[in-house]
Symmetry: C2
Subunit: 335 residues, 2 copies
């Protein structure tokens, strides 16, 4: 079955292809009755414009690339939801790229982004180096980074939608100090290293403000099982900290389970917070305290920012950096 082209429609409606093109693109110079005829022909033949040919003619694909690490997207469902919903509203197609250590290096992803001539790119944090961003920049591909605050960089003109994890950690630790709590741990999340870095630096700043030094940055393997095993062993000879920051659900649950099984009471012996919120935190006993990070909005705002940059870069030249708020959700693991 041959695909219907604009020529077929033109012949059917007995006009030139230019006229058909005008009808498709809502030009208002077409006379009403010919417009009618053309639309009937389109309907009759079931014509759909070829986006590839349009892309070539216009040098515009109405497609944006989303890049995230293979391990992350199970956790970033809501961000992805936000991205997809807004992309749908603006009629953008999504090219989806994942990166992982072995099979798909960022290098290949960049290569395919450039070849595909997508109109813009959305990058998740922890996925790329500055060099890699510069490559994209050379090709003038509009770009927004979603996740945490982008460090000062020579790569300019990049959109950034973020939550200020540094501030979040800083404020929380200050409050803890006010309550007399100073034995605080931060459990590393290898999937979100840039966010970890910011939280750590916020905590360090708070410690420093109180004339002391933060030492309990805990780093071990990334799976629930190994975390759980590590901690179970650890708690045989060590007491838990007064307060533990974790980033993801599974880390928090590992702490909760191992700690409770070692005979410690939560939140009495050890308070616990998990930064990223999801339903699993409500399935434990007690429920795990967390933050309300506006994940869906992070996606939605990022995509909206990108579309603005695509339509008219000037209009957003000065405010490509958008901070989103957060709030603490106390549950059963803090007091």
């Amino acid at each position: 079955m041959k695909r219907i082209t604009i020529y077929d429609v033109a012949k059917e409606a007995d006009v030139s292809l230019a006229t058909v093109s005008r009808v498709i693109n809502d030009s208002n110079v077409v006379r009403e009755d010919t417009k009618q005829r053309v639309q009937e022909a389109i309907e009759k033949l079931g014509y759909k414009p070829n986006a590839i040919a349009q892309g070539l003619a216009l040098s515009k694909t109405t497609t944006v690339s989303i890049v995230m690490s293979e391990k992350l997207f199970a956790y970033n469902g809501k961000i992805l939801n936000g991205l997809m919903d807004v992309a749908k509203i603006y009629n953008y197609n999504i090219m989806f790229h994942t990166t992982s250590q072995g099979i798909s290096k960022m290098q290949d992803v960049i290569e395919s982004i450039i070849k595909s001539h997508v109109d813009g790119v959305i990058l998740f944090n922890d996925n790329f180096s500055e060099d890699e961003m510069e490559v994209l920049q050379e090709y003038q591909i509009p770009m927004v980074v979603v996740g945490s605050l982008l460090p000062e960089t020579k790569v300019n003109n990049v959109g950034n939608v973020y939550v200020d994890f540094e501030k979040m950690a800083y404020e929380m630790v200050n409050e803890l100090f006010d309550k007399g709590i100073n034995d605080i741990s931060l459990v590393e999340d290898k999937l979100n290293l840039s966010m970890m870095e910011q939280m750590r630096s916020g905590i360090e700043r708070a410690f420093h403000d109180h004339g002391t030094e933060f030492k309990k940055y805990i780093s071990y393997d990334e799976t629930y099982k190994s975390s759980y095993n590590f901690l179970t062993e650890y708690f045989k000879t060590n007491k838990p900290s007064q307060f533990v920051f974790t980033f993801r659900d599974s880390q928090a649950i590992a702490v909760l389970n191992s700690c409770q099984e070692a005979g410690y009471k939560i939140p009495d012996d050890c308070q616990l917070v998990c930064v990223l919120n999801n339903k699993y935190l409500s399935m434990t006993r007690p429920n795990i305290s967390t933050f309300n990070i506006p994940e869906y909005d992070m996606g939605a705002v990022s995509m909206r920012l990108l579309t603005k940059m695509l339509v008219d870069d000037e209009s957003v030249r000065e405010n490509k950096s958008i901070e989103l708020g957060y709030s603490f959700i106390p549950k059963g693991t803090t007091k």
Copy 2:
């Protein structure tokens, strides 16, 4: 910055664009020294072929569409991983489409698939009607459906990679009957309705084989919270079934928590199985028994099947339906 085209390379290497094209596409008729010259020019200018133009010229985009419902992809991470890895190997780009009730109806997704001229489509179950598949079929777009067994349909020539949930349920229930257990419930999962249908029919068949009738197909709202609340209320006046099938982690955990809190012992008073396995099932006490569904393989096999269909449909004409195995993983909620 103007993008480098094949013309620029031709001029730089002092050959015609035809020759450049031959070098790019590994034609073996090019003399070695000119090939050298061209490659140097490509290198020097940083030329990358424009995939859009290639797509137009070849009527082939090396892009495949993946369609899944917005709510599902948080659960289908592993399938997606399998899909992406294999796509990467065969150098296919991925167009990612999500469907949801409001914003992006399947109709729009189909429209954009057709316009994009992707080479093939991978559909997740529960995402489309037979009519919608027929539309894709009309446009001759190769298609594979991943998830559960496709029912007999007039839409032919569709790939299908599946796990036989009907058999799984049937076998398990038979074993239960052998052990004298006949009070069995199946909790509906609204996110995976076609799989539910198959499990239900497997259970019904087993009941029928034993001369009785299956009645405990339980259906309520889909979130953890509402499930938990429903069950908590339910167990105030009702005993749990001897054996409960759930599909997703949150449903299983809702049963586990509410049941235990109502004073029932698991697995003594009530046995529990969750079909889809993930790490959260190991975070509960006791750990929840489950099945090993080869999710990653489902994705990988699907994509490989699709690429085969794209390259040479004849070679796979007779075996487009691929069943993958499963196995039971007993943990603490069964005995």
